[in-house]
């Protein structure tokens, strides 16, 4: 079975769970009432399932090809699919109208990104990174830079990349060496080597705009001496058209485990011409604007691969006839029952659904806060920004951890057929693995959460999250149909509060306690957030059922939600127990004994 866009799930979230029509007064939502969103996602879904999905396996098998002159060829069909993407106007979806964008809510953009990432993760990274470059220039660029670069990036005519990593410097950007020498005309000459640059070179666009972190000669050491530069592959001429070739080249491609269709490049800068974005030595802050957006996008990749793998596994489980049901044949006329009758197969499928549905809700709910960052009400704006900061590392790490686990379970369901290359699940498993690593490894996300995001503004963000949950539980106290969900949520929140308190008491005293607790804390946080999402989903489904809706879609939500409470949420107890055990044993094991 090929990938089917989860249009119904998207519309249910937007219409029923998040009720986005309440934001009709915001410009982005005014442009897109729900019926228009439905049409947009329907058409986007066709593009993703009919154009991108059939190329997923092709990209995996062929990969990208590098020639000694530095040119990179993408897999067969990628160019045509990219042209269709640009002709469809999809790169402009969430971009600002001032630069040719459609200005639609980012939550709609997220739904599109989920579909394109499920259909073809390697392909979807090219426009994904372009959007990152767009955001960095939008936030930090001069008016002239915006005018020169943004329209081409928004339309998709030009691509964009992020150049951070160097051979000696990955997570720790303070070690960065690429240097920038000022030239007489106000530009800089950039020299150095960048590695693992996704989409660093390809044949999809007429120009590629590299955003490069480099150190201006004489700048302070460490992270305080890093600046951000625009280094286009072709220098724009007076009319903004691609002109002379810049001294930047792809020196080779990485061989890697997955995302073969995306060119992962070694980039060589040899006195390439670049222009400073924003202020000198403030590059890292700007790059983090981009990084936060990218981290949400990576969390989304985890979800998207999980969804695609789930779909393939569910289809396999319905069709594959092996063995008989433990309670007597369910397909008596056939040679065997479909493996879907087996409780342990259902366990894996429902694990996936329970996490995917609430995980998607969590992602959309967070992205919606991003859309509210321009809300006229200051309190709404502040909460929106707080939540974006707090939830981003949780979403990135949790959804990629679980997304990969879902891909692995999907392979388990498909058995030997899943391990062969006849089914797509092996590719999903391989492609999804990078998402736990890049844009800040999941351990780094956990540290960001406990070390930075929890403490920011005196813990304001997490306190307001707790208050929101309390208010919801109180408000629904009389709603008996929701009781199993509100009780589970209140208990989850109590555990998270206990874990948070423990961190505050023990993390400051001994930072290793915070480090040792961080991953378990992040998962505890995510399980609480997902409990909240399931309560919101159940409330919305109940409302439909109460209104006489007989479609099993809504009743099934309640079953999946109960499954979450019974069989996934108990992990929260284990997470709490682990995190409160502290770091003593962990650090006691002697280094030389490893």
């Amino acid at each position: 079975m090929t990938y089917q866009p989860p249009l119904r799930e998207h519309l249910f979230l937007l219409r029923d769970v998040l009720a986005v029509d309440r934001y009709a007064e915001l410009p982005a939502f005014a442009e897109a009432p729900l019926d228009v969103i439905e049409q947009i996602l329907g058409e986007a879904g066709r593009y993703c399932s009919e154009v991108l999905a059939p190329l997923n396996g092709v990209g995996d098998r062929q990969g990208c090809a590098w020639r000694s002159d530095g040119a990179v060829t993408t897999p067969a069909g990628f160019k045509e699919a990219y042209r269709a993407l640009v002709e469809g106007g999809w790169p402009a979806l969430g971009a600002a109208p001032a630069w040719g964008g459609q200005g639609l809510p980012s939550v709609v953009g997220l739904a599109f990104s989920e579909m394109s990432s499920s259909a073809n993760m390697a392909f979807s990274m090219y426009p994904g990174l372009t959007h990152g470059a767009y955001s960095a220039i939008l936030h930090g660029g001069s008016e002239a830079q915006k005018a020169l670069y943004l329209p081409a990036l928004v339309s998709g005519r030009w691509g964009g990349t992020m150049n951070l990593t160097e051979p000696q410097c990955g997570t720790d950007l303070g070690l960065l060496r690429t240097k920038a020498v000022p030239a007489a005309d106000g530009s800089y000459r950039i020299s150095g080597q960048k590695i693992w640059i996704s989409g660093g070179e390809h044949d999809l666009t007429e120009n590629i705009v590299h955003l490069v972190l480099a150190r201006i000669e004489g700048a302070p050491a460490g992270t305080r001496g890093i600046s951000l530069f625009i280094v286009p592959k072709f220098l724009p001429d007076a009319d903004g058209a691609p002109g002379a070739r810049n001294a930047v080249a792809c020196a080779g491609l990485e061989e890697k485990m997955g995302i073969h269709g995306n060119a992962t490049c070694v980039m060589a800068y040899d006195e390439a011409t670049g222009w400073l974005v924003g202020e000198e030595n403030r590059g890292l802050a700007l790059m983090f604007v981009m990084m936060n957006e990218a981290r949400l996008g990576v969390g989304l990749q985890g979800l998207a691969q999980g969804e695609a793998a789930y779909q393939a596994a569910a289809a396999f489980a319905r069709d594959r006839l092996q063995g008989r049901s433990l309670t007597g044949p369910k397909n008596a006329e056939g040679p065997a029952d479909p493996i879907l009758v087996h409780p342990d197969v259902r366990r894996m499928l429902l694990d996936a659904r329970a996490v995917l549905e609430a995980g998607r809700a969590f992602l959309f709910w967070t992205a919606l806060h991003g859309d509210l960052a321009d809300h006229p009400d200051e309190a709404v704006r502040q909460k929106a920004k707080d939540y974006m900061g707090l939830m981003t590392p949780v979403l990135k790490a949790y959804l990629t951890d679980r997304g990969f686990a879902i891909c692995s379970d999907a392979m388990q369901i498909c058995g030997g057929a899943g391990f062969t290359e006849h089914l797509p699940v092996s590719q999903y498993l391989r492609d999804s693995r990078i998402a736990l690593i890049y844009e800040g490894a999941n351990g780094v996300q956990a540290l960001d959460l406990v070390g930075r995001k929890l403490a920011a503004d005196g813990g304001r963000a997490v306190m307001s999250f707790f208050a929101e949950i309390d208010a919801f539980v109180d408000a629904q106290a009389a709603n008996e149909t929701l009781t199993p969900f509100t009780e589970a949520l209140a208990a989850a929140k109590a555990r998270l509060q206990e874990g948070t308190l423990w961190l505050m008491q023990n993390g400051l005293a001994n930072p290793d306690n915070a480090g040792a607790a961080s991953t378990d804390y992040l998962h505890l946080f995510a399980l609480t957030a997902l409990s909240y999402m399931w309560a919101l989903i159940a409330k919305a489904a109940n409302a439909r059922i109460a209104a006489g809706e007989t479609d099993p879609f809504f009743a099934n939500k309640l079953v999946a939600g109960r499954y979450f409470i019974e069989r996934i949420l108990p992990d929260a107890d284990a997470r709490l127990a682990k995190l409160t055990s502290g770091s003593a044993t962990l650090m006691a094991y002697p280094a030389e004994a490893f």
Partner: protein, 249 residues
């Protein structure tokens, strides 16, 4: 030149139709609906004719429930200029549809009616031909290629075993076959533009009313399901069985 394009909201072509257990019809509750694929081809062709400067206005008309507005929106997003919905919750028979479309054609006075050869639900393949007969306008069904000029349209048609080319005086009715074109995906900017285009919601009474049906559906059943047969050992075994057991060689 004005082109009228009738479009039908029908079950999505990727969905397998399931017969209701009470045999009263096909279960369409919560089933994904889309524009009938042949209608989509007709809309695409009309838009291409407009893009070539051969037509000024494309009017999409649909007969169906209020949700058929979405189908018209899709046509508008592909490039039609405005829409007319004749709203009805009944499922009119082809003859009634043809009569309503005749009334629309007389009111709108298009030079060309371009429509799908059949809808993938009823599979009647009849409305275009009937509309042509009722209007006494010439017809060309199963179009593979259309060359339009101000007074005539030349249509190459898919016929059994090959192609036939006809020339029709305008106004005329042309129905689209699968190979006429490959419909584009509606682009995001066009979807956004389409929401500003008008759709007039009318009733059958505005066009002379819908007549009573002539056909009574007694039952709708599932076709006899094929069951998996036997796995043969090899090619020789297969040929032997086809000759003796099946008797088809």
């Amino acid at each position: 030149m004005k082109i009228l394009v009738p479009v039908k909201r029908a079950i999505d072509s990727n969905v397998k139709a399931r017969v209701k257990s009470d045999q009263t019809g096909v279960d369409l509750a919560n089933v994904k609906m889309s524009m009938n694929p042949f209608c989509e081809i007709a809309v695409e062709e009309a838009v291409r004719l407009k893009e070539k400067g051969l037509a000024e206005e494309i009017v999409a008309v649909s007969i169906g429930p209020i949700q058929a507005q979405e189908t018209i929106r899709t046509a508008l997003a592909i490039g039609a200029d405005r829409g007319i919905l004749i709203q009805t919750d009944a499922d009119p028979e082809p003859l009634e549809v043809a009569k309503l479309l005749k009334a629309v054609a007389l009111a709108e006075a298009p030079r060309l009616i371009l429509m799908g050869k059949q809808a993938i639900d009823g599979d009647n393949n009849a409305v275009g031909q009937m509309l042509s007969a009722l209007l006494d306008w010439p017809q060309a069904t199963f179009a593979y290629k259309i060359e339009l000029s101000p007074q005539v349209v030349r249509v190459t048609r898919e016929v059994d075993g090959g192609l036939q080319t006809l020339e029709l005086d305008l106004p005329a009715v042309v129905t689209a076959d699968l190979r006429l074109n490959e419909p584009r995906y509606a682009s995001l900017p066009n979807i956004m533009k389409a929401k500003k285009k008008t759709i007039d919601v009318k009733t059958a009474d505005d066009y002379g009313g819908a007549g009573a049906g002539h056909l009574k559906v007694l039952r709708v059943t599932e076709p006899a399901r094929r069951t998996a047969g036997v796995k043969v050992e090899n090619a020789a075994d297969l040929v032997a069985r086809l000759k003796t057991e099946a008797g088809v060689l």
